[in-house]
């Protein structure tokens, strides 16, 4: 067993060097499966994972094939979930993947940066929604509304748009983006309060329906607030949204010996910014979970009557969860607007809310690594796997009509995945122990 896993890893390392591409990366995924699921000594497993990290990095760098990114995500999952791997190895390999492998792959194929940033933004939002749904047990189907409020908060003032209704010198300089991340946290928290005040008085299905409705209200407001006064520029959206100047970042990287060109500099910058945000969001998530607030949310989720009898007031406690989740989403909205330089109501549909919720459920409710994995899995599925598969079908089987193009069945695939999850693994890919216990209790 040990020999097999190591041999596969080494073989893939060779393939990644001499024959990089989709096929060798597929082989790499098989090798990863072997390293993760075979019965191995901890040393052999650790060595295999390290070799595979190197090999996937090499393969990505030489071919830019995105299957390699799936491999890296897989290694990250293995590092967080497999037992008996020394913690310093986990940290070292994890950091190497995030800080070295992915940027290297991004230079080979800028789409990987795009994918990485997208995953990061959604992961941070999934973590925010995790506070609301996973910890406090409040089913929120309008979460994209907060994302929208955050995005528009910066889009309106970081573009000439604000001149339509205000005196002043717009667009504001790009540095203001950082300030607006703070402002967006406040505006989305207030939006959370306004939506939450009527909504969190309701329970279960009623709460879900009301948040769904109020979430749509925000999107429709964005769509229609182009008259009588033009706040949002309606369905055309707002562009160009300012980005912060990153001369210091370019100087920094070239001082480190990595000169950046015009196509990758902002990509790399936003990639690191998003990583930083995820780090912050994870930290805050952990802190809250281990505080009296986290315990109060769990208590309310488990038994409202008992929680109230312990002196926990329902409405304020639920509102705090709602506002916290909203604030995460708002800060990511600002980054989203700046990174794309374009914001329109289309990005904040019900499907976006459902996708973020699906990420949380897929990963495992209440689970922090689960939320990140869910975000990675669904983003890669939507943006990469389905599109690549469509491309493949179109070129190799041109007689198949375009109506059955796999990329058009994103929702169907998402639905099937969720149904299968609910049947075979209802606690999610990386279950959180408390939710698993609750699930067993109900069974």
């Amino acid at each position: 067993m040990t020999g097999l896993a190591l041999l596969l890893s080494l073989a893939y390392l060779g393939l990644a060097f001499w024959a990089p591409g989709a096929l060798s990366n597929l082989f790499g995924l098989v090798a990863l499966g072997a390293a993760a699921f075979l019965r191995l000594s901890p040393q052999a497993r650790t060595l295999s994972l390290a070799l595979l990290t190197l090999a996937f990095t090499l393969g990505l760098w030489r071919s830019g094939n995105t299957l390699g990114l799936i491999g890296l995500v897989g290694i990250l999952v293995a590092l967080t979930t497999l037992p008996r791997i020394p913690n310093w190895i986990r940290a070292l390999l994890g950091l190497a993947i995030l800080l070295v492998s992915v940027p290297l792959a991004g230079f080979a194929n800028t789409f990987i940066f795009e994918l990485g940033i997208q995953i990061g933004i959604y992961a941070a939002m999934a973590l925010g929604l995790n506070v609301v749904v996973g910890m406090a047990g409040l089913l929120d189907l309008g979460y994209a509304a907060f994302f929208a409020v955050g995005a528009y908060t910066w889009a309106i003032f970081g573009s000439p748009q604000a001149q339509n209704f205000m005196q002043g010198n717009f667009p504001l300089p790009g540095e203001y983006m950082y300030l607006f991340m703070g402002i967006a946290i406040v505006t989305t928290a207030i939006t959370g309060l306004l939506i939450g005040l009527p909504a969190v008085r309701l329970r279960g299905d009623y709460l879900a329906i009301v948040t769904l409705g109020l979430g749509e209200v925000v999107r429709i407001l964005a769509n229609n607030l182009d008259h009588p006064i033009n706040f949002t520029n309606g369905p055309q959206g707002i562009t160009p949204v300012g980005r912060p100047p990153i001369d210091w970042f370019r100087d920094l990287t070239s001082a480190l010996g990595i000169p950046l060109d015009r196509t990758t500099d902002y990509q790399l910058f936003f990639y690191f910014l998003v990583l930083l945000m995820i780090g912050l969001v994870v930290l805050v998530n952990l802190n809250l979970a281990n505080s009296r607030f986290g315990r109060a949310w769990t208590a309310i989720r488990e038994d409202e009557v008992a929680a109230r009898s312990m002196g926990i007031p329902l409405l304020p406690t639920k509102l705090i969860a709602f506002m916290t989740g909203a604030a995460f989403s708002g800060a990511m909205g600002v980054i989203f607007a700046a990174q794309r330089t374009f914001v329109s109501p289309e990005s904040f549909t019900l499907l976006a809310s459902i996708t973020i919720l699906a990420m949380v459920i897929l990963g495992g409710m209440g689970s922090i690594p689960g939320a990140i994995l869910g975000a990675a899995a669904l983003s890669i599925l939507n943006l990469d796997v389905l599109k690549t598969f469509s491309e493949f079908v179109r070129t190799s089987l041109p007689q198949i009509p375009s109506q059955v193009d796999p990329a058009k069945y994103e929702r169907l695939v998402l639905g099937i995945i969720l149904v299968l999850m609910m049947i075979y693994r209802p606690t999610g890919l990386i279950p959180e122990k408390r939710h698993r216990a609750e699930m067993e209790e109900e069974a």
């Binding site: 805050v284 802190n287 009296r292 315990r295 002196g311 216990a437």
Partner: protein, 259 residues
């Protein structure tokens, strides 16, 4: 000042009068039992006291303060701890976490301190944990602190639920059938334990109980409910001899035979 005064409390559910014009007074430091046949309105009375229902008529005073119509969390903040007839622990939380939830109102960590886990937050968390462990030790469950509440044996769950109510630092403790499902030895332990709570912690205790042996031995005074109305009140001796009570429990005609 009385620990608890219930003045003419009435609660109706549609046509059913669950609690009908009940008045009680509980002295400080007293162990007071509420008994009555099934469906007599005992639990509804508890739910009125803890704010789960608001009475349709009447007032409830806690240490002289009118708490009529308070929500359950505000009643808890006034210093009323309770347990439930069918144990309502947070099953997927550990024993220690259950107590920490009970201490919620005494852990003074503002939101932003919790968010960034500031020194103040750490200090308060540590203090709370120590206090919770001390309390677990007091009820003899310290060795179970990291176990999920739902995995504890029944008797220990009962004790943990009382400990969780104690974490609130209550002035008044309401126990809803604490001996339900216990064998005679466990009941005896419970009796000693409740006595200790009153003697050592100075808490006033009101309990609902079906186990008459326990009630008669532990209570300073007893109130008897039937069909939502109070039919008798007094010391165990007085209640035992009250013909109305005997009738309620054993049926008409039994009073003559028993006396």
């Amino acid at each position: 000042m009385k620990a608890l005064e219930v003045q003419n409390a009435t609660k109706r559910f549609g046509g059913l009068v669950a609690v009908s014009d009940v008045s009680l007074e509980v002295n400080q430091g007293e162990i007071f039992s509420v008994i009555g046949p099934n469906g007599a309105g005992k639990t509804t009375l508890f739910n009125l006291l803890t704010g789960i229902y608001a009475p349709d008529q009447g007032r409830i005073l806690l240490f002289g303060k009118d708490i009529t119509g308070f929500t359950p969390d505000r009643v808890a903040k006034e210093g009323v701890g309770r347990t439930f007839q069918n144990i309502r622990l947070f099953g997927a939380m550990t024993a220690l976490e259950n107590l920490l939830v009970g201490m919620h109102i005494h852990i003074r960590v503002p939101y932003f301190h919790a968010l960034f886990r500031t020194p103040l937050a750490r200090r308060e968390e540590r203090r709370a944990k120590e206090e919770a462990e001390k309390l677990l030790d007091y009820v003899g469950l310290l060795h179970r602190k990291d176990e999920l509440a739902r995995n504890l044996p029944y008797g220990e769950q009962r004790r943990l639920e009382i400990a969780r109510a104690l974490a609130l630092k209550p002035r008044l403790l309401l126990l809803d059938e604490p001996a339900a499902g216990m064998n005679p030895r466990e009941t005896e332990e419970l009796q000693a334990f409740i006595g200790r709570l009153r003697d050592e912690l100075g808490i006033t205790i009101v309990l609902i109980e079906h186990d008459m042996r326990l009630v008669m031995r532990i209570s300073d005074r007893i109130a008897v409910l039937e069909y939502g109305a109070k039919i008798a009140e007094g010391t165990p001796e007085e209640v035992r001899k009250n013909p109305r009570v005997i009738e309620a429990y054993l049926g008409k005609g039994a009073a003559g035979g028993a006396a």
